[in-house]
């Protein structure tokens, strides 16, 4: 609510402005209240207003519990996610209402109600999926650290088997493994990646410049620039 003293102060300020000279006090007041209300709705960082979809005490309590659970389990971005959270709460409330109706009727289940229930559950799972909070998506985080580590280790074994001896450099003289040297013939001194043999193959018309670039994982422009700098003519 707008406090009275603040309201009066605002009124005084606004009455002096040239653009408001033709407006009555009532018009100005209604404008102020509208603008204050609009701002307060936007700047509201508390999610409490999401509960104002029902007046029923029982349902309000249910929504309150669900909202508390969501706030506890997830970090919601106030500016972008509250709309989706509101939809989730509404759908959950609808599902609850239908389930309650079905329960009241005992044996007789209305097919229309069942269809509605199905529709709402489907919508709910879609919205939850969009926010990344569905049960399947959460399963990863529900694993115990031990399970997580075991899974990573298993993946590591698969990776190593797939890449066996791929990154081992051995000295041609002594046969011992050595680390990647600082200077390597594949890397040009002034920047760029370089392989004279591939350029030779290109000049013999066995490789196109695009293929050379693809092998070296770079662009044609970069190959041309290095050749130009080194004074090599590309055929």
């Amino acid at each position: 609510m707008v406090k009275e003293d603040r309201l009066e102060k605002l009124l005084r300020q606004l009455t002096n402005l040239a653009q408001n000279k033709d407006k009555t006090k009532e018009e100005l007041l209604s404008d102020i209240i509208y603008s204050m209300w609009d701002k307060s709705a936007e700047e509201d960082s508390d999610l409490g207003y999401l509960l104002e979809v029902t007046d029923n005490k029982d349902e309000k309590e249910f929504l309150n519990k669900r909202l508390a659970a969501y706030k506890n389990d997830f970090d919601f971005n106030i500016s972008t996610d509250t709309g989706d959270l509101r939809v989730i709460l509404l759908l959950e409330l609808q599902i609850r209402r239908i389930t309650k109706l079905c329960a009241d009727r005992k044996d007789k289940i209305d097919t229309n109600l069942a269809d509605d229930l199905n529709k709402y559950i489907k919508q709910l799972s879609e919205v939850k999926g969009k926010l990344g909070i569905s049960k399947i998506q959460r399963q990863g985080s529900q694993q115990t650290p031990f399970d997580q580590l075991q899974e990573v280790k298993q993946l590591a074994v698969e990776y190593i088997q797939k890449h066996k001896d791929e990154y081992t450099w051995k000295c041609t003289q002594c046969g011992t493994i050595h680390l990647l040297a600082r200077k390597h013939s594949a890397y040009d001194e002034d920047g760029g990646i370089w392989n004279p043999k591939l350029i030779e193959l290109h000049n013999q018309k066995k490789l196109t410049i695009e293929e050379v670039a693809e092998i070296l994982e770079t662009s044609c422009d970069a190959i041309k620039r290095i050749c130009q700098r080194k004074g090599i003519k590309l055929k």
Partner: protein, 543 residues
């Protein structure tokens, strides 16, 4: 006593092997961009390109040699970890030199400190967030978090603390006392993002910010032509491992992208293209502004900043409590309202003269508005603030049409506003006449009965004027990081009879300041805007 027999399994060995091989680490643990850490499944992962491999750190393959001293072992580690990733933009510098390395460092160096440095938050946030996201959401890395993830990752203090005792500090240079943020830390590793932007004062403070054994240094940056910066010394130091690539090393670089870059940087021979695309140092450049002078003009607080865009424009007009909550400055002697106008945001400011100093009262950004809408916003500001001069950048068509709209005498909306006398057009693409040539006796030199005009490029003139006012402390600016970062990033290059300016980051604020500086210069000693009525003096900006 029976002890459990512990042996390393094949699985353990496979995991350790990957963790200690940088290339494997990247290709096994890092999801293929743009996938984020939570999407890691060990299969759809990053594939390093050949040219990216030398940018990695190879210290992880080493174990300490027991025959060597602690210092010698550290030096070995440093020689494999140190790197200066220099070059053009968008080839993966920051990702390889910093992002992947930051994660590997955090989980493999138990109990150590790591300092991650950037000029401002805009540059620090992406690097810090990459690390924080990996530690928080990656299936393997999140095993290293403390029991409460919130304790592990402190986004407000920019710190990541792990179970193994490793701590990463994210620190920015800061606007008031540069480099004070990293004083008192003793990291074993320092990583610097956009190292060319770090000022000498701040850089010198980080030289002693290291552990007693020293620190592994990993720098990423684009040369900007300045020869008096620490980054220039690093990239020309033959003892450092400097890797230099141009933007065209990226396999996605093609003719279309080349043309786009040429347009963006003003031609392939421009200083901006040579530095930002080719990664060369280009002509000798220097920092256009003296940031110490600007800092001396700063006071505590923050300048009020409003934004008018397509979404809130209607509210701006219809409500009495406008989103532009401007309060007229009663103590002001003179008000200048200046604005840079462009397709990208138009950055405006309201300057008030108080006791001989210009106080920046408000910053107003306009996004996606038509020239007609922009004119209305300027009119509103001018009316509320009682602006004496409304100076607009008319170098581009949008600015020209906005100004024309305001000074159009047939425009009923702006009747009785006297805008033809108050709206000043500033064109930065032409020369400005600043006076007449004088001989040794101080007499004006005539040629064909006309006085010889002294001309200077408008952009350069505004810059000289600005340097002078900042030096004389004629401004009162709130401590605004946007202002400092934009002024610090602008580079000036002298050549072909004029000074040209370029910046790696958007510099709309500087453009706005330059518009203001021209308007300020036009006021005569009595504080009245008379100069710009003399066509022969400021012909360039009068249509």
């Amino acid at each position: 006593m029976i002890k459990e027999k512990k042996e390393l399994s094949e699985q353990d060995l496979a995991l350790f092997e990957i963790m200690h091989s940088t290339k494997d680490f990247a290709e096994f643990f890092i999801p293929h961009p743009p996938l984020k850490a939570h999407a890691w499944d060990g299969k759809n992962c990053l594939k390093l390109r050949l040219y990216q491999i030398p940018l990695l750190s190879f210290e992880w393959n080493l174990v300490d040699d027991p025959r060597l001293s602690k210092k010698e072992n550290f030096n070995n580690r440093k020689s494999l970890g140190d790197i200066v990733g220099r070059g053009g933009r968008v080839y993966g510098k920051s990702m390889i030199v910093l992002d992947i390395d930051n994660i590997q460092e955090a989980i493999l160096h138990d109990g150590e400190e790591h300092l991650l440095i950037a000029f401002d938050e805009k540059h620090l946030d992406p690097r810090f967030e990459y690390l924080a996201d990996a530690i928080q959401n990656h299936k393997f890395f999140n095993l290293y978090t403390l029991d409460s993830k919130k304790e592990s990752i402190n986004r407000s203090n920019k710190q990541v603390l792990l179970k193994n005792g490793h701590i990463t500090y994210g620190r920015i240079e800061g606007s008031k006392s540069p480099g004070d943020g990293w004083l008192g830390l003793h990291p074993q590793r320092k990583s610097i993002e956009e190292a060319q932007m770090i000022s000498s004062v701040a850089f010198n403070k980080q030289v002693d910010t290291q552990s007693e054994l020293g620190a592994v240094e990993r720098l990423s940056g684009v040369p900007d032509g300045r020869r008096d910066t620490p980054f220039h010394e690093y990239i020309n130091d033959k003892s450092k491992r400097v890797i230099w690539y141009s933007s065209n090393i990226n396999p996605y670089w093609d003719d279309k992208r080349k043309k786009e870059a040429e347009i963006k940087y003003g031609g392939k021979n421009s200083h901006a293209y040579i530095t930002n695309v080719l990664g060369e140092e280009g002509d000798i450049a220097f920092g256009a502004w003296d940031c110490d002078d600007i800092r001396n003009c700063m006071t505590k607080g923050s300048v009020k900043h409003f934004e008018v865009n397509k979404n809130n424009y209607d509210r701006f007009l219809t409500l009495p409590v406008s989103i532009l909550n401007l309060v007229p400055d009663e103590s002001s002697e003179f008000i200048i309202q200046a604005s840079d106008i462009g397709k990208t945001p138009s950055e405006g400011g309201v300057f008030s003269l108080q006791k001989g100093k210009w106080n920046l009262l408000y910053r107003i950004t306009q996004r996606g508005l038509t020239h007609f809408q922009q004119a209305k916003v300027f009119h509103y500001i001018a009316h509320t603030m009682r602006s004496n001069i409304i100076a607009l950048d008319t170098s581009e068509g949008l600015g020209e049409s906005t100004a024309d709209h305001m000074i159009n005498e047939k425009e009923t909306e702006f009747l009785n506003c006297d805008y033809p006398k108050r709206v000043m057009k500033c064109n930065f693409k032409t020369n400005i006449v600043t006076g007449y040539l004088k001989n040794e006796k101080g007499e004006i030199v005539y040629e064909d009965a006309n006085p010889v005009e002294v001309k200077i490029h408008t952009d350069e003139f505004a810059w000289i004027r600005g340097m002078q006012l900042f030096k004389e402390q004629k401004f009162i600016l709130q401590d605004d990081i946007d202002i400092i970062s934009q002024f610090a990033a602008e580079i000036a290059v002298k050549g072909q009879g004029k000074t040209t300016f370029s910046s790696p980051i958007p510099n709309h604020l500087i453009s706005m300041f330059k518009v203001f500086l021209l308007a300020e210069w036009s006021i005569n000693k009595d504080g009245k805007p008379t100069q710009f009525n003399k066509n022969n003096f400021l012909g360039c900006w009068l249509s």
